[in-house]
């Protein structure tokens, strides 16, 4: 008789009793194998990256990185995620907008089994969690305080005020901050919306500038303008970018 490959699961919750409960519920399901338990978001990103589990049981409220930030960082790999949370209107709205299954604490074994079944069918159909849409619904166009970047199994947390400028590079953005460049899989337009309220301006099709870094604007040949940053970096300014800058300054 052919036994199917067991479902590999990582449990992520900062509270020991909550982890113990999920472990207990999972014991009812013979074909499930718990490969790791993580007590915070950083560990979860590392475990997701190294162990490639089929399913994450992911708490929302955690220290350092919350569940949404973990999702942001593992993004493309997020085939199977079951979110768990205590009452939090703000987070729940995002799930409901995109019909993503979640477990409300406290939950019973039947409800948990139902979530597991839904997750299994999603994984079997290779149907990923709509991570990007979920994150957008969660943030709802509101400004962000920090940008998270995964660098293999390391996570960089960059406060937005440390960013000098952002440059578009194909499907990625290159974020220049504190003398280093970080690559992140995201579109410049998306980031523009999130940074607009934080003193950033899209000065060019390919650049978003932290206005506080601007030292001066110079005219170059052919009526083009160039932004000179306080560290002498030069960035091109488009016509519409110049109009936006003038409006702000």
């Amino acid at each position: 008789m052919l036994t199917p490959k067991p479902l590999t699961v990582v449990i992520v919750d900062d509270e020991a009793p909550a982890r113990a409960l999920v472990r207990e519920y999972l014991e009812q399901h013979a074909d499930v194998h718990v490969v790791a338990e993580c007590t915070n978001g950083l560990e979860a990103v590392k475990a997701a990256n190294e162990l490639r589990p089929d399913l994450l049981i992911l708490d929302i409220q955690m220290p350092k990185l919350d569940g949404f930030e973990v999702l942001d960082l593992i993004g493309a790999d997020a085939t199977g995620v079951v979110f768990t949370t205590a009452h939090d209107d703000y987070a729940l709205r995002a799930f409901e907008v995109h019909a993503v299954d979640y477990l409300l604490k406290p939950f019973g074994p039947e409800r948990f089994a139902e979530s597991l079944r839904l997750a299994r069918s999603r994984i079997a159909q290779r149907q990923p969690i709509p991570a990007r849409e979920l994150l957008e619904a969660h943030r709802e166009g509101s400004a962000i305080d920090r940008i998270l970047i995964r660098d293999r199994s390391q996570v960089h947390v960059i406060p937005v005020e440390q960013i000098d400028y952002v440059e578009a590079q194909d499907d990625y953005v290159s974020i220049r901050a504190a003398g280093r460049s970080y690559l992140k899989e995201q579109t410049l337009g998306e980031l523009e919306g999130q940074l607009a309220a934080k003193g950033f301006v899209r000065i060019h099709r390919r650049y978003i500038l932290n206005v506080s870094r601007l030292a001066k604007i110079e005219l170059s040949e052919k009526d083009n303008r160039v932004a000179i940053l306080s560290d002498k970096t030069e960035l091109p300014i488009s016509r519409s970018g110049y109009a936006k800058l003038r409006e702000l300054l």
Partner: protein, 359 residues
């Protein structure tokens, strides 16, 4: 704007009140047999005078009878104002008499001009009457306003109390606790039972204690400790508690549930965001007839700022403000990864003890 001029009904009543004064003038100064002349002469003058009298309001407002020295300073102003109005009366009477004469309708009002000093005196004295009337008016409206203000303050205070109580029962806390109990039931039934009891006691206290009620700091700390031991089940070794309180401070009476939100804040926005956790320290002592309580906790400077953060603290501030005014303060500050909330309020000694003994 003048309170009487801005209300047509009050103005009507005021003018009606001036009518008897006009009639008194006719009777007092009119000549027997020439009543018609007196009425035609004095009544219109009285009407004009009624409006002049209203100007006393501005004089009264400029010289309120709040302090004694000010009252004395007002005397020359009142004397000169009355003299001016008296002179004005004589001039008005003279003009009015001329006008009536020129109409040639058989009236002889000029006989009233023979005694200008009488007209002057009447004008000046009536102005003092108007001044007195306006002082009474201002005093009564001030007391009405004070009453309304105190009613409003009371209403605001009650609203703040209600909001504070509702915020106390954070559903997030309840659901998380229930989840912990659910987890413990299978593995450790006696720990689950213990947690049920802790939660029941905490809920009972929170619901039982009216927000305006004063309890001793010792009782308040018991509630706080119960709250923290529930959170300890959830957070485990990450949450530690340290207490350092003076005997005197423990006896002080404080508004019920004034400290608990500070402990909650320390856990939710401090310890819960730290991987290694940390210690919530509560210190309390009395200083010059004040009770000071510090709640400190380590915190992550890079933690995401939740929208709800700060609501609990601002409610504590509102409650202090409504109960103690400026004497009740909550100061908060964050420095080098440590958050401090400092609560100070007037030391309210236990019943049967005199506050001065600790001053």
């Amino acid at each position: 704007m003048h309170p009487i001029l801005s209300d047509a009904k009050q103005l009507g009543l005021y003018l009606l009140g001036c009518l008897p004064i006009g009639i008194l003038l006719i009777i007092g100064l009119g000549r027997p047999g020439a009543w018609a002349t007196a009425a035609v002469f004095f009544l219109p003058l009285m009407l004009i005078y009624a409006f002049i009298g209203l100007s006393a309001f501005y004089l009264c407002r400029a010289f309120p009878i709040a302090t004694e020295e000010r009252t004395w300073r007002a005397v020359p102003a009142h004397v000169s104002a009355a003299a001016t109005v008296g002179g004005l009366c004589v001039a008005l009477a003279w003009g009015w008499a001329r006008l009536l004469e020129s109409l040639n309708i058989g009236l002889q009002p000029q006989l009233y001009l023979a005694q200008p000093w009488v007209l002057f005196a009447v004008g000046a004295l009536l102005f003092w009457l108007a001044t007195a009337f306006h002082y009474v008016l201002i005093a009564s409206s001030a007391s009405q306003q004070a009453e309304r203000r105190s009613l409003e303050a009371g209403l605001l205070a009650r609203e703040a109390e209600l909001k504070a109580l509702r915020a106390q029962l954070d559903p997030h806390f309840l659901f998380n606790s229930l989840n912990s109990i659910s987890s413990l039931t299978a593995r450790d039934p006696s720990a689950a039972r213990n947690m049920c009891l802790l939660l029941a006691d905490f809920l009972r206290d929170t619901l039982r204690l009216g927000a305006a009620q004063r309890i001793s700091l010792q009782e308040e700390l018991n509630i706080v400790e119960r709250y923290l031991s529930i959170e300890q089940v959830r957070l485990g070794a990450r949450l530690n508690i340290l207490k350092d309180t003076s005997e005197q401070a423990l006896g002080a009476k404080v508004p019920a549930l004034i400290l608990q939100p500070l402990a909650e804040n320390a856990v939710l926005h401090g310890i819960a965001h730290l991987l290694e956790g940390g210690t919530v320290t509560i210190r309390a002592q009395t200083e010059h007839s004040m009770l000071i309580v510090w709640v400190t906790n380590p915190c992550d400077p890079d933690r995401p700022r939740h929208k709800r953060a700060g609501i609990g603290l601002s409610l504590v501030r509102q409650r202090l403000q409504s109960q103690f005014g400026l004497a009740g303060q909550l100061e908060t500050g964050e420095e080098r990864g440590e958050f401090t909330a400092k609560l100070s309020l007037p030391f309210d000694p236990p019943d049967g003890m005199v506050a001065n003994a600790y001053a």
